[in-house]
Symmetry: C2
Subunit: 147 residues, 2 copies
DNA sequence: ATTATGTCTATAGAGTTAGTAGTGTTTTGA
DNA sequence: TCAAAACACTACTAACTCTATAGACATAAT
């Protein structure tokens, strides 16, 4: 698995929206881009993907903006990564259809990539954005306390 | 972590050399390329990298060829991957020097990438080529038995 | 109407990947 | 001695991906 800027931005955008979830608020892409320091037109494409994936929703027109389409508790980090980056496998040969290995019985590396994919999934599929919201809140609190 | 063709070829080349290790034999790049079905000039670059990394050695001239520079028991899959592909981290921000996150205290994703990197390392740094040689031998045996 | 927003498609520049080409250098052995 | 067979090294290219930008369009509020 490799995380590109697009994936990184997507995760940060969802987290930012999650931090504002619940109070009925809506955030414009302009605001989001400024808060996260992301080029606005690039963020736009990311948000469109997130919308098509069903994770965010938008209201058009004046007073429009973006908001989470579901509760942060139901969105897992792994889902966003898979939507934006594709499969978490380190190499394509881990899926059954692949026939690149001349002798599949001999391709002893396949099992390794499957193990890596599973270990990765076990992490990213068990972290919800609700958890991240709580961690973020606690972290910024403790930072404030230090001042 | 993403495995490119180069990394894939490197692992297969080392395994093939490991299967022939011990009996003092040497394999030409021509042979290796044919056995592994890899473009010879591409394999050449891979082998040069492996040589510079100290994993394989070569004898030049007629009767020359490649052989493992160390025992398969001392070479781990993770070493080859890191040599060819670079760090295992899914994104660059996991190392301390990185300052891309505006507020490092708030970048709650960093811990996730560190966890993924650790889980990946725990797998690939604990598999030696000796183990893979044994597995390959056993697998091809059982395949033969089925015939 | 005007303005502020999201929607969509196209494109461009930089970098990466996979593969190819050509020219060395070294060693063997006839 | 010299030709053949092998490794060594550098350069190049076509295709692809990634990041970012541009511009035309659609929608909603005032």
């Amino acid at each position: 698995m490799k995380i590109t800027y697009k994936g990184d931005y997507a995760l940060k955008a969802v987290l930012e929206l999650a931090l504002n979830h619940g109070n009925g608020s809506i955030i414009t892409i302009h605001d989001l881009a400024k808060r996260l320091d992301i080029p606005i037109k690039f963020l736009e494409q990311v948000l469109l993907d997130l919308k098509r994936g069903g994770y965010v929703a938008a209201r058009r027109g004046k007073l429009g903006g973006y908001f989470l389409a579901k509760s942060p508790a139901t969105i897992k980090v792994g889902e966003i990564i898979r939507l934006i980056e594709g499969p978490v496998e380190p190499i394509a040969c881990t899926n059954e259809e692949y026939s690149g290995c001349k002798d599949i019985y001999k391709c002893v590396f396949r099992g390794i990539w499957q193990d890596v994919a599973k270990a990765t999934s076990d992490i990213i599929d068990n972290i919800t954005f609700e958890y991240l919201v709580n961690r973020t809140a606690r972290q910024s609190m403790s930072v404030n306390y230090q001042i």
